[in-house]
């Protein structure tokens, strides 16, 4: 399985929607050498973490995606990978209303969700869920920036920090 960035919304009338690569382009390292945002994985994870924090998902099938940019977490995200997996399991437990006292159900859930052969740790059907949280976070960012690309990396982090913390 692999990670992909969103390109457009399937409903054509939504003209305001900017694709994720364009949204970040002015605050990427290539454009602004101060920026720590260097990889597509950075774009993706900033959105995903925000989506998980806001518990906001968007329907995967409502969007067109670009070609996959990576089939696994890049090295600088090895710790984040564990934490994302933990958060995702926690979200799924909640959505399936599995209580922490129901150990058998929890164990079955782990078997259902985790893919020990995959670099992302997660079975295919749940990778879509990762993308749904990523989309949720991205749409929240678009809203925060009035559907316009941020031009200044310091302003981006200022707004992002507020969103992730509040």
């Amino acid at each position: 399985m692999s990670f992909k960035l969103v390109d457009s919304k399937k409903k054509e009338e939504d003209q305001k929607f900017i694709n994720c690569k364009d949204f970040f382009k002015n605050i990427r390292y290539e454009k602004d050498s101060s920026s720590p945002i260097r990889f597509d994985m950075d774009n993706f994870m900033l959105c995903l973490i925000l989506g998980l924090k806001l518990d906001k998902k968007e329907n995967y099938d409502d969007f067109h995606f670009q070609q996959e940019f990576s089939s696994k977490y890049i090295d600088s995200y090895s710790k984040t990978k564990d934490l994302i997996t933990g958060l995702l399991l926690s979200k799924i437990m909640k959505s399936k209303k599995i209580d922490k006292n129901e150990k058998t159900k929890v164990k079955n859930l782990l078997k259902e969700v985790l893919d020990t052969n995959d670099d992302i740790y997660i079975k295919k059907e749940y990778v879509n869920l990762i993308h749904e949280y990523y989309l949720g976070g991205y749409c929240a960012l678009l809203k925060e920036f009035d559907n316009k690309e941020p031009n200044e990396v310091s302003i981006f982090f200022n707004k992002y920090n507020k969103l992730i913390k509040d």
């Binding site: 457009s8 720590p36 998980l52 564990d82 934490l83 150990k103 929890v106 164990k107 982090f157």
Partner: protein, 652 residues
């Protein structure tokens, strides 16, 4: 196989009537030709090029070659070039009929003449030489070689493409494309679908037009960047020298720059650490930390992961007797295995273990405060902006007497940056679903073209042909890219071997040649270094053929300091291929005189000028066998004359 230029003869043209013999003094590899301004150097170079391929002269071009002075005008004129390949001499001649605004070629494949109408090269050359190759043999260091080192230019890549005839594959690709378009048009149905096809065809044509327009802009922008490069660099250097010359203000500026760099470094670190903090989910207060904390606690309460339990079961299964003492038969083992399967696997346990371990580690490190990051980042950002404003103010003050130059360089900087951005980013932007043919991205336009063609193929029922052509063309393009890359790597290696031999002191190596020549460890070389590496690069490409080609260079030492001129002379004296270069007065000190010394006079030094009373006096005492005179032109073969000859300054 050695291919040499032996000489040329011209009559009735814009330049004086000349007859040059390059091989007059034997087997020298290098020839220096001194032609003062107004002697027709540009015309000569252009016609030398045209003498090697069948050029279609337009009437406006023919008009450019006719004599401009009324008393020199003739209805007819010609340019004849003499070459040698494998010891066999051949001629090509361009004949001009100015009265009829017409031109035609005649050729002779033998030394004795016997010219036949039409353009013809010896068999050994005719399939190798074409206009693109000729462009590589005749170079102006300023115009052709310098851009090969600039990152916004593609001169080096184009040189490799030309020489390796990669463009033949482009032609093949175009042929396939034309074939599928033809099939599509033949199959065009009538009725409703025909209207749809018309709509798509219109869009297709718009895309093609836009691509052509952008390709033209691309060339113009590259030309602009190349032409303004020196003016911009020199201007910037001049401004910098002015800034540095004011000691007090310079000290103040340096101090401000130091503080700005420090503030910038703090700012960069803060941004980097902020992103790292965000990635370390749980290292800062908030919902995410609480959620993952709850999850980990729940795992603890459930006793997960259960690695030990599975190990316990595995150990039992390996034994003959159960812990109760009974023998472990097949049925009992099945019961144990079933019980074991209700526990999560080793691998799943490891993942759970990692989640817990990573979160545990994060809780042990000092908590990140995202609010503090925001405040500190804003503070440092303001500090960087404030210091930059101060530097700008100080510079403005120091440059108050050079406002015009300062303004010019500022404008050039902005314009160059816009055009660089166009070449490096805008035309390469990815295709997006909502793109139209109005986009300035060539990448997107090519993708749109592909999509419209697919749509047209579907509508006209030629999808199968379309897909086959796409497959073939993609295969060809991929092979072309791989070949280009491989050739670039080989040429880089070969060039570096030559650099090793020819740059005795401080050799500069080539790191890679993709779009442009990238030097190892430095952004660009000095004029002299780039000229020498450029010549090495061209010779390396030319050497890939079975033929040893001559290299004809205009302005070989323009813009070089004396030391660089001397090094270039040394470099040329080591070349094995025939080398001909056009020089002017200012190129002689430290270059041609150095070369003369290095080769003990074993080179051709030729001077050619338009006759006048004053110049005619200069040759009065020259030996007749070293002169070649016509009614308006004079060629003198000899180093002493070459050395002494000086063109008068305008107005003297």
């Amino acid at each position: 196989m050695k291919f040499e230029l032996l000489g040329w003869k011209c009559e009735g043209l814009r330049c004086p009537d000349f007859n040059f013999e390059i091989d007059k003094s034997g087997n020298a590899t290098a020839t220096f030709l001194q032609m003062p301004n107004g002697t027709g150097k540009t015309t000569t170079l252009r016609l030398l090029k045209r003498s090697l391929y069948n050029h279609q002269f337009k009437s406006t071009e023919i008009d450019q070659y006719k004599a401009k002075l009324k008393k020199e005008y003739k209805d007819k004129g010609f340019f004849q070039a003499k070459y040698k390949i494998e010891g066999n001499i051949f001629y090509t001649q361009i004949n001009f009929e100015f009265d009829k605004n017409n031109s035609y070629y005649t050729s002779s494949l033998s030394e004795k003449g016997g010219f036949h109408k039409g353009f013809q090269l010896p068999e050994s050359l005719e399939n190798i030489i074409d206009q693109e190759l000729i462009d590589l043999l005749f170079v102006d260091l300023e115009i052709d070689v310098k851009p090969m080192f600039r990152n916004h230019q593609t001169g080096a890549q184009e040189a490799i493409r030309k020489f390796c005839k990669i463009n033949l594959i482009d032609l093949l690709i175009k042929d396939f494309d034309d074939f599928k378009t033809k099939k599509r048009k033949e199959n065009a149905p009538s009725g409703n679908i025909s209207v749809q096809i018309d709509t798509e065809e219109t869009r297709f044509n718009k895309i093609i037009n836009k691509i052509e327009k952008l390709e033209k802009i691309k060339l113009d922008y590259k030309k602009y960047l190349n032409e303004t490069e020196d003016e911009f660099n020199d201007g910037e250097k001049q401004l910098n020298d002015i800034l540095e010359s004011n000691t007090v203000s310079n000290k103040k500026r340096k101090d401000l720059e130091l503080r700005r760099d420090e503030a910038k470094s703090n700012y960069n670190n803060l941004l980097k650490n902020n992103l790292e903090a965000i990635k370390n989910i749980g290292s800062y207060d908030g919902i995410l930390r609480n959620e993952i904390d709850d999850f980990v606690k729940a795992l603890d309460e459930m006793g997960l992961p259960e690695e030990e339990v599975r190990i316990f079961f595995k150990k039992i299964l390996e034994k003959k007797l159960c812990i109760c003492g009974e023998e472990l038969d097949h049925n009992k083992k099945l019961i144990i295995k079933e019980a074991m399967e209700s526990f999560i696997s080793d691998e799943e346990s490891r993942i759970i273990g990692r989640i817990k371990g990573t979160f545990d580690n994060i809780t042990r490190i000092e908590k990140n405060d995202l609010d503090k990051f925001s405040t500190d980042i804003q503070k440092q950002y303001s500090e960087v902006s404030r210091l930059e404003e101060n530097i700008e103010l100080l510079e403005k003050k120091s440059l108050k007497d050079n406002v015009e130059l300062s303004q010019k360089i500022k404008e050039l900087k902005e314009e160059r940056s816009l055009r660089k951005n166009f070449l490096e980013n805008i035309i390469n932007e990815r295709w997006k679903a909502k793109d139209t043919e109005e986009t300035d991205s060539l990448v997107s336009l090519h993708e749109q073209k592909l999509r419209v063609e697919k749509q047209l193929a579907t509508l006209s029922g030629t999808r199968e042909t379309e897909e086959k052509v796409i497959f073939l063309n993609n295969t060809l393009k991929s092979a072309m890219e791989k070949a280009m890359l491989e050739i670039s790597i080989q040429i880089t290696k070969e060039c570096n071997k030559k650099i090793d031999k020819m740059f005795v002191k401080n050799p500069i190596y080539i790191r890679s040649i993709e779009k442009n020549i990238v030097l190892d460890g430095q952004l660009e070389g000095s004029t002299g270094q780039e000229a020498r590496i450029g010549i090495i690069f061209l010779l390396t490409i030319l050497e890939r053929s079975s033929i040893e080609f001559p290299l004809i260079v205009d302005t070989p030492v323009k813009g070089m300091d004396n030391a660089a001129k001397r090094r270039t002379a040394q470099f040329i004296s080591d070349l094995k291929s025939q080398f001909l270069c056009f020089v002017i007065d200012s190129d002689k000190p430290h270059f041609t005189d150095e070369f003369h010394k290095l080769t003990n006079g074993e080179s051709n030094f030729i001077t050619a000028f338009r006759r006048s009373n004053e110049f005619d006096n200069l040759i009065l005492n020259q030996p007749k066998n070293l002169l070649e005179s016509s009614h308006n032109g004079q060629v003198v073969y000899q180093y002493p004359f070459f050395k002494e000859f000086t063109e008068e300054e305008d107005g003297n």
